[in-house]
Amino acid sequence: MKANLPPLDYVPLSEVVPGASSMRDFLTSGHGSIFAMTRAGKTELMRYFMKRRIKPLRVFYNPEEESVPGHQVADAEGLKRAIMAGHRSIVVTPPDTANNHTARFAAVAQVLWRIGDDLKRRNGGNKAPPWCILFVDEAQVVAGKDADPENPLRVILHRGLKRGIVAWCASQEPNLVSHSVMTQAQTFILLEVNRFRAPYLEGYGVPVGEIWDRLKQKYHGAVIHGNRVAFFRPIPKT
């Protein structure tokens, strides 16, 4: 079904997220979570974010080997070198996609954390300005339901903002991601989601019920911040 909705570029985001007068402000205003069923446009949306020419470093953790624009690296060492070389749109695609993403992601997170720690220190111990937007695709493989408090993604979700790191987690399975992915997100983006996910999302205060008629349709997306909602067309594929 073709959606008669504006693309995200034309959504007045500041009416949804206070103070977000630009896409950069929107993405750095706080952590976010993106949920969608498969083929609903989740990855396409993140490609769109990665393509945007915005100042903060954008890092995409890519466990599913999606084709995502940016400087391609395989691990934390590659990420470190790419940052030092001045790249600002970096895709980390671990070569062995099946195993141990928590450890692999931990190494990636450690690189960002050390820079963020340094920026916080330079800022007199106060909150560092947002310098990094970290996209984590398939967040459930990095921080699943039973992830412990030391899980690197959970640590970033709880303490990353003070170090200028904003995380956007994406998943098809909101019920399989860590509790922190749900509770620390200030903004949700929902694309087409399965009906049986709705009660789960509502349990975390996401007003899915009220917007369900829209979300059950293909190529409909919603930006949700508190009780504010704006609908958009998730990227040009209509």
Binding site: R53, L79, A85, P95, T97, I115, D118, L119
Partner: protein, 142 residues
């Protein structure tokens, strides 16, 4: 305020330890290649490199040689020595007998993500490269 931060400079200070010797990086590259080879590397390589121009070379090689004509001999015949050195890595060929030994700097650059399209294309245009390709600026940022 974020615009004032030069993350590259900050990172250079934070990570000011000397980079790993080329031999170590080559070993790391060999591990990556082995992992790629142990998986479905025809799936692995194209997606990993799809966004840059060298991907076109690699993908073409994979399309052509992975399948009925699997083997690096065919690649050598078709694309020549210098292309093959890079192609070995792309298609997960035996690093012990090919590019790890011949081109450790190439392998290291590939493994550490500093191998950019322009650098790679420049590199593969010369036989038997001896030095690491330059670290190029990001192509997607002005």
């Amino acid at each position: 305020m974020a615009e004032e931060i030069d993350v590259a400079d900050v990172a250079a200070e934070v990570f000011k330890e000397a980079p790993a010797p080329v031999a170590e990086q080559a070993e790391a590259a060999a591990q990556v290649a082995k992992q790629a080879r142990s998986k479905d590397y025809a799936k692995f390589a194209p997606s990993r490199f799809k966004e840059n121009k060298i991907a076109q070379v690699i993908n073409a090689a994979i399309d052509r040689f992975i399948g009925p004509r699997t083997g690096i001999e065919a690649a050598e015949h078709e694309v020549g020595e210098s292309y093959t050195a890079f192609g070995y890595w792309a298609i997960g060929a035996d690093p012990d007998q090919s590019s790890a030994a011949l081109h450790p700097a190439l392998a290291a650059a590939w493994a550490t993500g500093t191998y950019t399209a322009a650098g790679a294309l420049k590199h593969v245009s010369h036989d038997q490269p001896k030095t690491a390709p330059p670290i190029m600026p990001a192509e997607d940022e002005a």
